[in-house]
């Protein structure tokens, strides 16, 4: 077992037993569920909407080269720069070099999962740049020196009391936990940095091919300040964020907001097409788009799982996942957690260490039902399990166990006999009081369950008795 897998099991055990953490998650997700229930009726036909979204993303992803080139041409025509980064290191180097060349000292950053994926903040801080995460949730976890807990709500594992204590300790807040006051503290503290920073880094929600624009969505407006005030704007994105037309956003903006937070649309949906244009009042002098591959082109080549690249990062699959709700986002130890993380992480470069994630699911299918672009998430977990087993990566003992099991099951006679023998052994063991002891044959089960009642006769024995052989 890889060390990442061992770490996962260890953390999962801790979090599964942490009732307070489960209750916090339950409460926060109840808020989300209530918001969805209120907001879903905005759609006359949500199923039609997600089918249409699936078709649009299918068109975009299955013609990815064409649309990326169209996007690039239009961005460059307006004076923007497009850099294609094969690896996380390429992306980091481009951005740190850009900052160094331009005498940047302070960087304001708004939410970017791709930024997390390439560990951008750490790379910049190492080179001596001061980086502020301005999304409130990211700001909070940055103060705690923690990674984000959830794609959309980075601090959802914290209560207001914990946040108040954090602000009191780090920012001189007064310890009051009224969310309104806490937000005001963050606003006050970050505002100075917005006005003095030389560079703003944002993520991207959609790359719009026909207009050469990047679409950025926030509720707070931190991305707006970060793309209006600093001299340089860098937008970092995966190559898969493409949609063909501006008009497509008329559907994607409401779908993203509805599934992400239960809103009609998010408060600010910005479109940036370049640096400040001639005649414009303000805006950055330079605009850079960093397109990250980092294994996405490999996933593209897997025609069966290609639609994982349709993801619009709404976070709904995390919210509905009973495993996520039990272990929380940090346990995954991965940039992307929950169901989308479990199907995506094994495919990114250096993804082998996440090969345990596709197995850490009960395959309930709630994620697939929730996905606004109809990714077949839980079936892809099955596909990935098949791929991992097929690559010969599972332990020898497990492979032998399934071979043995198959041998038994290919014959009703063998099954009947071995079933009878197994039950006899269990009845003996439990009759001797060995349930729950180290000698319990069902120990992996009885660690957390009472043993089932072991019947004397199987169904087929009883049936034969009652009805004769068939």
């Amino acid at each position: 077992m890889s060390s990442a897998a061992k770490e996962f099991l260890r953390n999962a055990a801790i979090k599964s037993a942490d009732l307070a953490h489960r209750q916090t998650l339950r409460r926060n997700i109840d808020h989300y569920d209530a918001a969805i229930e209120r907001a879903r009726p905005r759609f006359l036909d949500w199923q039609a909407g997600r089918q249409r979204c699936h078709e649009i993303k299918w068109e975009a992803i299955n013609h990815l080269d064409r649309y990326l080139l169209e996007f690039e041409e239009r961005v460059r025509a307006r004076g923007g720069h497009v850099f294609w980064a094969e690896t996380a290191e390429d992306a980091r180097r481009y951005i740190t070099d850009l900052a160094a060349r331009n005498g940047v000292r302070t960087i304001v950053k708004s939410k970017s999962m791709v930024g997390e994926e390439v560990h951008l903040t750490a790379a910049l801080e190492e080179k001596g740049f001061r980086v502020l995460d301005t999304d409130l949730g990211e700001f909070i976890v940055q103060l705690r020196h923690e990674p984000p807990y959830h794609i959309v709500t980075p601090a959802m594992h914290l209560t207001r009391a914990q946040i108040a204590a954090l602000f009191k300790e780090k920012l001189g807040g007064d310890g009051g936990d009224d969310p309104q006051k806490l937000v005001a503290v963050a606003r006050r503290v970050l505002r100075k940095d917005f006005f003095s920073a030389e560079m703003g880094i944002t993520g991207v929600n959609f790359l719009v091919a026909d207009s050469g624009m990047v679409a950025i969505t926030t509720n707070e407006g931190n991305d707006r300040l970060g793309t209006a005030l600093p001299r340089i704007h860098v937008a970092i994105t995966g190559i898969e964020k493409i949609v063909p037309r501006l008009a497509d956003l008329a559907l994607f903006w409401p779908m993203l907001a509805n599934s992400g937070t239960g809103q009609s649309v998010t408060c600010y949906n910005s479109l940036i097409g370049g640096p400040r244009a001639p005649g414009e009042l303000d805006g950055p002098e330079e605009f850079h788009v960093v397109l990250l591959d980092n294994g996405r082109s490999e996933l593209l080549a897997d025609a069966e799982q290609r639609d994982v690249l349709h993801c619009i990062r709404c976070g709904a699959c995390l919210n509905v996942c009973p495993v996520f709700r039990t272990i929380g986002g940090h346990t995954y130890g991965a940039t992307y957690s929950g169901p989308i993380g479990s199907v995506l992480m094994p495919h990114l470069l250096d993804g082998k260490k996440f090969d345990h994630l596709p197995f850490a699911s009960s395959l309930c299918g709630a994620c697939t039902d929730a996905c606004p672009v109809k990714i077949d998430l839980h079936h892809h977990l099955l596909h990935e399990r098949r791929n991992i087993v097929g690559a010969g990566e599972q332990p020898w003992s497990e492979r032998m166990a399934f071979k043995l099991w198959r041998w038994m099951m290919m014959s009703a006679g063998r099954f009947e006999f071995l079933g009878w023998a197994g039950r006899a052994a269990l009845r003996l063991a439990y009759g001797l009081g060995l349930e729950g002891s180290p000698l319990d044959p069902l120990r992996p089960w009885t660690k957390v369950h009472r043993a089932p009642r072991i019947p004397k006769r199987s169904f087929r024995a009883l049936w034969k008795e009652q009805h004769g052989a068939d």
Binding site: N28, A48, V82, G137, V183, L246, C267, L281, D293, L300
Partner: protein, 223 residues
């Protein structure tokens, strides 16, 4: 940036092209032609309802004069400080109705070498490209006083006329495209209500980094 400084570009494109030689199935399901959103019939009523829901303060005025007076009363309620205004003829005409002792900073004056709204601005006043009834939103562009005008100050006042109001986002994009707005602006933004966050216990709080108050003054008639 020269192409030669980005060798990864050709390699990524080559991998994409190779990958796409294998076709991937689309989920075939009926329904994508069905109507996703119920058509908006009473456009103004819908806009009013959505604004109430997303905490946009909507003031409907019969004409430009009344609109000017409405803006004046909002300004009168603010603490003293700079008011940044998009330098547009319609707003210049209205300005005579506004408190004369207020510190107005007209956007074109900034072009001469200054920036957008100051950090300590109390409010900004701009026009809009279009308004959207479906979501109770305002679509602004760089031409509406710049990028900072709609986000820097704690209060953002939008002055618009009813014939700028369209039923839904489809119509909004159609209108923007018809008028070449995306091509002429490096920045567009669909604004829906006041700045907010749900990052604390997923409970919504208003007034994060953007304006705490969004006021839309909507005139029926526009001279």
């Amino acid at each position: 940036m020269e192409q030669t400084e980005n060798p990864g570009r050709e390699r990524i494109l080559a991998r994409i092209r190779a990958a796409l030689r294998k076709p991937a199935p689309m989920h075939v399901a009926s329904g994508s032609q069905r109507t996703v959103f119920a058509p908006v019939t009473d456009v103004l009523a819908r806009f009013e309802k959505e604004c109430a829901g997303n905490h946009t303060e909507l003031i409907i005025a019969p004409d430009a004069d009344a609109a000017g007076a409405a803006v004046a009363s909002v300004l009168a309620s603010l603490p003293a400080g700079e008011i940044f205004v998009q330098d547009a003829p319609a707003l210049r005409r209205m300005a005579s109705a506004w408190p004369q002792d207020a510190k107005f900073h007209w956007s074109n004056a900034a072009l001469a070498g200054g920036e957008g709204p100051a950090e300590t601005s109390q409010a900004t006043i701009t026009l809009a490209e279009t308004l959207v009834a479906q979501t109770g939103s305002v679509f602004v562009s760089a031409a509406c006083g710049g990028r900072g005008a709609s986000v820097v100050a704690p209060v953002h006042i939008v002055v618009a006329s009813v014939d700028q109001l369209v039923p839904d986002l489809d119509a909004a994009f159609a209108r923007l495209n018809e008028r070449g707005v995306p091509a002429k602006n490096s920045f567009l933004c669909l604004i829906t209500g006041s700045s907010r966050t749900s990052d604390i216990e997923k409970i919504m709080v208003l007034g994060a980094h953007g304006p705490r108050r969004l006021v839309v003054v909507l005139a029926h008639r526009w001279e």
